[in-house]
Amino acid sequence: MADKNNQILEEVTGSDYKYGFYTDIEMDQAPPGLTEDTIRFISAKKNEPQFMLDFRLKAFRHWKTLEEPKWAHVDYPPIKYQDLIYYSAPRKRPKYDSLDEVDPELLETFEKLGIPLDEQKMLAGVAVDAVMDSVSVGSTFKKTLAEHGVIFCSFSEALQKHPELIKKYMGKVVPHTDNFFAALNSAVFSDGSFAYIPKGVRCPLELSTYFRINAANTGQFERTLIVAEEGSYVSYMEGCTAPIRDENQLHAAIVEIIAHKNAEVKYSTVQNWWPGDKQGKGGVYNFVTKRGICEGENAKISWTQVETGSAITWKYPSLILKGDNSTGEFYSVAVTNNKQQADTGTKMIHLGKNTKSTIISKGISGGKSNNSYRGLVKTTRNAENARNFSQCDSLLLGDQCGAHTFPYLDVGNRSSIVEHEATTSKISEDQLFYCLQRGIDMEGAIGLIVNGYAKEVLSKLPMEFAVEAQKLLSISLEGSVG
């Protein structure tokens, strides 16, 4: 049985990346290297207002004073920031009236990804703003959204049409001085998404953005900003797949969420960038700063993430619970395989009274990968009756991988209750035995157990995403899930 087991694990952890393809579209690129001129070039290309350029330059000057952080439990060769291309945009940028006008090659790419751009998917009620190498190429459902006063567009478009909103909110949650990668993003970000939900509006659609990294040697630096005004609600989905490229690609994104009084934001991510091959060659470096703030009373933000890709993940979606009675949630499934490394978790900063946060993190490591949970729960002196519950479980599929847990609990007042618990184990022999004894084969059994293990998090995903997330899990754990 052990042999069979090993063989299945081998299959599970040894499968090839399914989304490896490369779209040949002409690119408009900035020359490699990072100087103030590069930044001026990007800013000019995008026809940005002056305040934006000033912000970028300020961030760049600050970035030059910083050193790359080394504390994460990951290991990678040094990144040559001067060899990267910081801007690349598809050269043809037509305004589409219908899908027929879209570059067929691009449509084919989307087809492979299953992006719901076609009519049928439209009926599914998903508005898609697909970002292909940093520039927005397609958008749907604008009309429905506009009727409700919801703004959902690319960051560049928002800069042209709603500069006052960008100026008001950009950098408020993640300042350019926040960390090395945030400073880099602030200086060179190319595009991203902007969503604004006006007061009292319940966004009728689930907003969805698909990011793809395409050209070799370009870092993708998106910036997402979501503002939910008083009493509004939005569910935002972000999903990513990247084609196989040989060189490591740097991805340093920023996501900022602001939830005002009584607002609720649900942010879901499925990330499946190329993790590199079995020898650990190539793959995406995913260094992302995500942070939300519950600005007003009773606000709620929840992060749900399914992380299956990237060679290196360095990502801590965080929440600042500033408004009294505000709620924060973090649900995560992180799967690492082969030589992938993930150092991910969350930060919950309780500032307001009666604030609540929940952290559920499930790590699954296979192959020679390393999977770490790193999280901070902090309650300050004034955060009376703050409540946190954290649970971080790790599942090990093989004896060459590692699973680590690094929680930090800083409690600064007597009325708050903070709890953390974590377990690490392999798939239970008893559970396997039970499944086998019921006539389920080994593959099915492992699939069932892993699926059940991640269920708590998967069930938090929006419907459309839950299906995709399960597919991704099954690709990562080929042959065992389904």
Binding site: W71, H404, P407, I417, K426
Partner: protein, 468 residues
């Protein structure tokens, strides 16, 4: 400013090392001096740990180094009538007692005694002369001077401390008690060094008490190395009940061979600044390593417990349970780490840290970390910071108990989980009594001190129940 203190102190120590070389080296073996030299180089490079270092992030040494410490490296190990200085007030605790005064062993008859069962107990400085091979074989093998700056400093300046050697298959009947007394007119900086070697299938119980007789500022940087050979059994109890002017940095390094069992218990009742570093290296199969801790701190006391369990071999079990009650502006840090290496399959490791905060000014930082590279393991950890359970409180109130009594009972029960792990009856009763007194606000450190010096400064640390 702060960096200045540390640099000044570092330079002073390095200078002292040069000028006092003759005294410091004493009769140490060439091997020990080689270890000493290596440690000094480490200290030269790394200096004192700063808050920039992860394991010292919440514990800042620098303000403590701003004192003009007096140093005396002359051998002060001597024969004295110990009873005149100190008697242990656990009357029915029947032990072989050993006393350290300001870092040097003081004795009634001889610095090194051979008990009837062959166990050697006494001064480390003397042991280096009499049993150089034994010392050379073990000293410095467990204390990781590359990772721990303060252990490097201790190793560079090591002179005296407790030495115990238990031969194979020997069961030491009575516990060995080490009483570490600080009695100085001036602020002192002491670095005792203890070495405990427990042979195959031998067993020993060690009770380690820290006391200060004066209220002067003192800084004690201790390193204890315990080697548990195959099948050995070691119980280690450490009581810390010191004045608020005292600073303690304590390292306990346990090196465990196959089938050995180590149980360590650190109880901190008082102390201005306390940092305990416990490191257990499990180097054989079938070991058990248990680590318990209790800290009851108030005023502006600071206690930091850092645990590091390194599972290098398969099939062993480790357990950590640290509990604390924090009052006033006290601050507690817990950083536990369990490392399970690739080959350490079938490891079971558990880690738990529980804190109760009584005021809004008290602060708890806890970091229970797991680092696991083997798949067939069962590891779990948990940490909680909170208050007394309101449901339990309601239950007790509904049974007619007044709030004050109910609170005390619950706190005593909370602490009891750790106290119950003490296996020596007399000691457990005594600690239970002290904990109860402490939680009722009746325990002062003067009670521990036979001098009853009637100090003008009141030294009782009451837990103010009105704040509960």
């Amino acid at each position: 400013m702060n960096t200045m203190h540390t640099t000044l102190m570092k330079d002073k120590l390095l200078e002292l090392f040069e000028t006092e070389q003759q005294n410091i080296r004493g009769n140490a073996t060439p091997m020990v001096n080689r270890i000493r030299k290596h440690a000094l180089t480490r200290f030269k490079t790394n200096g004192f740990p700063t808050t920039k270092k992860e394991s010292w992030r919440f514990t800042d040494l620098t303000p403590l180094l701003n004192t003009e410490f007096a140093f005396d490296f002359r051998n002060q190990s001597k024969s004295t009538d110990i009873e005149k200085i100190f008697t242990c007030d656990v009357y029915d605790l029947d032990t072989y007692s050993q006393t350290l005064l300001n870092g040097w062993l003081i004795y009634k008859h001889a610095p090194l005694t051979k008990l009837a069962d062959g166990t050697i107990v006494g001064s480390l400085a003397k042991a280096m002369e009499v049993y150089p091979d034994l010392v050379d074989n073990y000293l410095g093998k467990a204390a990781a001077t590359d990772q721990h700056e303060m252990a490097a400093l201790n190793t560079a300046f090591l002179q005296d401390g407790l030495f115990i050697f238990v031969p194979d298959n020997t069961k030491v009947e009575k516990p060995i008690q080490l009483i570490n007394i600080v009695n100085a007119e001036q602020p002192v900086f002491l670095q005792p060094r203890h070495l405990v070697i427990v042979g195959k299938n031998a067993s020993i119980t060690l009770v380690h008490c820290d006391h200060s007789l004066t209220h002067n500022i003192s800084f004690t940087n201790t390193v204890l190395e315990v080697f548990a050979e195959e099948g050995a059994k070691v119980e280690h109890y450490k009581m810390q009940n010191k004045g608020r002017n005292s600073a303690l940095v304590t390292h306990s390094f346990f090196h465990q061979k196959q089938n050995s069992r180590v149980s360590s218990n650190i109880i901190t009742l008082n102390g201005g600044f306390t940092k305990n570093i416990v490191e257990a290296t499990i180097d054989g199969t079938n070991c058990e390593s248990e680590h318990y801790g209790l800290y009851l701190v108030d005023s502006n006391q600071h206690v930091d417990n850092q645990l590091n369990i390194d599972h290098r071999a398969p099939g062993s079990t480790s357990n950590q349970l640290y509990k604390g009650i924090l009052d006033d502006e006290a601050k507690a840090v817990f950083s536990g780490k369990v490392l399970v290496r690739r080959h350490a399959q079938q490891t079971q490791a558990f880690q738990n840290n529980k804190n109760i905060l009584l005021t809004d000014e008290a602060k708890a930082n806890t970091q229970p970390h797991l680092e696991i590279y083997a798949d067939d393991v069962k590891c779990s950890h948990g940490a909680t910071v909170g208050q007394l359970d309101p449901d339990a409180m309601f239950y007790m109130r509904s049974r007619g108990l007044c709030e004050r009594t109910a609170r005390q009972m619950m706190m005593i029960a909370f602490a009891g989980e750790v106290v119950q792990k003490i296996s020596i009856d007399a000691l457990r009763a005594r600690i239970q009594n002290m904990v109860e007194k402490r939680l009722k606000g009746e325990l002062s450190i003067c009670e521990q001190c036979v001098l009853h010096c009637n100090s003008k400064e009141p030294t009782s640390f009451n837990i103010d129940l009105s704040k509960l």
